[in-house]
């Protein structure tokens, strides 16, 4: 416990000082925070509950559009804003910007949660691959439909309000970094708190055998929906922050980007090791570093690399980094192994 406390303190200190030490990488660090949030929330479904969803991107994109719409709509007519296509006919004052951002983030977190509750009631009864494909369909449908709605920019995209003139680019980077780092800390604390309660055990019971869990008297539907709502809350928040960070929202390329973000979150959680607390964090960090390296050096081939990466990770490395560590050092994970068993294994090798 004591060791853990030191670890958490070290990470917190690193997180707070990081933008000043690596000031050139502020945007990258903020994106990393968002990615970790997404991986952590995906893990609630895919890892703990055994419901492999491609649809968390729905809440991410919804949060992104909602945050930006509220931020603009609070002060200016939304339709004219998107009509002007990012030309600076309307300018947010700093107070307006921050007020709008705060209100926008709240809306961006709350509404996806409600949506998750409603949709969850309808589709969480699906099992296995039906659920996976259904959520895949939901994500793509959301992208296609939002690409046809005029008031949020339709196909031409939606420019989020530019950062007000307080301190220039440095301040913008720091603002968004601390926003996303705050979201990350919040998510991590929440997820950690959930995982130390009975709730996690119920989710695991659903994953291991849903019918049996139901027979034991657990209202599985209720817990599945609550789990999804928690995911949606943080996904929406992450989406809202990401929208402001990127500065431009496109329906299929930024918001409901099932081909990038939607796959990334699955991949990161699996790479790190699904069903563990730290797995998604490690997976997202490794993935982001790898991705940035690859994306820079092999520009244009990134999707090819992504496709190959997915196939390789899924086929050869489905247990992830944490699973591999667990197999290597079982003692660290509080597992005891019979000495005779180990000897037998060594002899087998």
């Amino acid at each position: 416990m004591n060791k853990n406390l030191i670890l958490y303190a070290a990470i917190l200190v690193f997180g707070i000082t990081a933008p000043f030490i690596f000031s050139a990488f502020k945007v990258q660090l903020s994106i990393l925070c968002v990615l970790i949030v997404l991986a952590l929330t995906w893990n609630i479904q895919g890892g703990e509950m055994g419901y492999n969803t491609f649809g968390n991107i729905l809440f991410y994109g919804l949060g992104m559009y909602l945050c930006a719409s509220v931020q603009v709509g609070m002060f200016f007519p939304l339709a004219e804003w998107t009509e002007s296509g990012g030309e600076k006919t309307f300018i947010h004052t700093p107070t307006q910007f921050f007020q709008g951002m705060a209100a926008g983030l709240i809306v961006a977190a709350v509404i996806p949660t409600i949506v998750a509750g409603l949709i969850g009631y309808a589709i969480l009864g699906l099992r296995g691959h039906y659920f996976a494909i259904c959520t895949l369909g939901l994500g793509v449908a959301a992208g296609e439909i939002s690409g046809g709605i005029e008031i949020i920019g339709a196909g031409q995209g939606f420019t989020t309000p530019p950062f007000p003139d307080v301190g220039g680019l440095e301040a913008r980077g720091e603002f968004f970094y601390f926003l996303s780092f705050g979201a990350l800390v919040l998510t991590f604390i929440a997820v950690r708190a959930i995982y130390s309660t009975r709730f996690k055990l119920i989710l695991n019971a659903i994953r291991d055998n849903e019918d049996k869990a139901e027979a034991m008297g657990i209202q599985t539907m209720k817990y599945k929906i609550i789990g999804w709502m928690i995911s949606a809350f943080f996904c929406g928040l992450a989406g809202g922050i990401m929208g402001g960070l990127v500065g431009y929202i496109d329906s299929t390329d930024v918001a409901f980007d099932g081909r990038e973000m939607g796959v990334f979150m699955v991949l990161m959680a699996i790479l790190g090791g699904k069903g563990t607390l730290w797995g998604p964090v490690i997976g997202a960090t490794v993935f982001h570093i790898f991705k940035e390296g690859f994306w820079t050096f092999f520009l244009g081939w990134q999707y090819v690399a992504l496709g190959v990466l997915i196939v390789v990770i899924v086929i050869y490395f489905p247990e992830g980094i944490m699973g591999w560590l667990r197999e290597k050092f079982p003692e660290r994970f509080g597992e005891t192994i019979d000495e005779a068993d180990r000897k037998a294994q060594v002899e087998l090798k």
Binding site: G125, A132, G137, E144, G148, I310, V314, I315
Partner: protein, 297 residues
């Protein structure tokens, strides 16, 4: 929203005929999907990308001066080997595992194919012009391109050939046996590995035919694969595995639905409508099944 369809009955007839001809193509793709889903228990997200790849084969024949209709024979031949190669490289490692692994792995293949096609063939929307002319029905109120009729005819021909092949040939029997019980088939001397490879190859070949026909009839684009996957998945779950008339009927139904959605909601919502329909069908299925479960209680 545009309700012209209902005010002018001839537009409805047009939409229905278009939809049915389109739906037959969808049914052909869905047949391949059902085949490999039933035999190997794999959901192939890259199905649509195999279709598009087949389409590009026909398109390139057209570019080099060969009539694209010959693509109907060339594309499946090439795609069969693509499918077998894909099986040997990736799919054989996911056959016996969790369905989600296969979904994710084939999703990776889909992204890979999409991007490779984008590099190789460019991001333009292309079509292979067959030069078949058009047919006018009902005093020119209904216009049907002959290429659509041709493609529907070829699809039906291929489907019938395949059904007969599956019934009569040795490999077909082996495939059906493996679908029923892979372990028993193995005990009785069926080389299931070979059967799986052949099944995936046949699936890819069907995709190749469909793709070649699509490139003649409609347009193809490297990123258009996923909707075809979703359509075929939808048709298969509506019809059920191993229900061929059902696959054909629900394929046509989907085609008609799409044409009407196109007229009523506008073309920009067409793909969105397809995906929403999938969600609705799955939700309907869930509530229907849960009602059944309650009844059992």
């Amino acid at each position: 929203m545009d309700f012209m369809v209902f005010q002018y009955p001839m537009i409805s007839v047009q939409a229905c005929l278009d939809g049915i001809l389109l739906g037959i193509l969808f049914a052909l793709i869905a047949y391949g999907m059902a085949l490999q889903w039933g035999v190997m228990n794999i959901i192939n997200i890259a199905q649509g990308d195999l279709v598009i790849l087949g389409g590009y084969i026909a398109y390139f024949m057209y570019l080099y001066g060969i009539h694209p209709a010959w693509g109907v024979i060339v594309a499946p031949t090439i795609m069969y080997f693509v499918g077998v190669g894909l099986y040997k490289l990736v799919i054989n490692k996911v056959v016996d595992r969790d369905l989600f692994i296969s979904i994710l792995a084939t999703f990776g293949i889909s992204i890979l194919f999409m991007q490779l096609m984008n590099f190789a063939f460019g991001a333009d929307v292309v079509l292979a012009n067959s030069g078949y002319g058009t047919t006018f029905l009902f005093d020119s109120a209904v216009v049907l391109p002959n290429s659509k009729i041709f493609s529907a005819f070829i699809s039906i021909l291929f489907a019938i050939c395949l059904v007969i092949y599956m019934k009569k040939s040795k490999l077909g029997r082996a495939i059906r046996a493996t679908a029923q019980n892979a372990r028993a088939a193995k005990i009785l001397g069926v080389d299931t590995e070979k059967v799986y490879a052949a099944t995936f190859g046949i699936n890819a070949a069907l995709c190749g035919v469909a793709g070649a026909l699509i490139s003649i009839t409609f347009t193809i684009h490297p990123y258009m694969g996923l909707p075809y996957t979703i359509r075929s998945f939808m048709i298969v779950i509506v019809a059920g595995l191993g229900n061929l008339p059902g696959v054909a009927l629900s394929g046509m139904g989907l085609g008609v639905f799409e044409e009407f959605a196109d007229y009523i909601l506008g073309t920009e919502f067409r793909i969105g409508a397809v995906f929403l329909l999938l969600v609705l069908i799955l939700v309907y299925r869930r509530f229907k099944l849960s009602r059944k479960r309650e009844y059992l209680k």
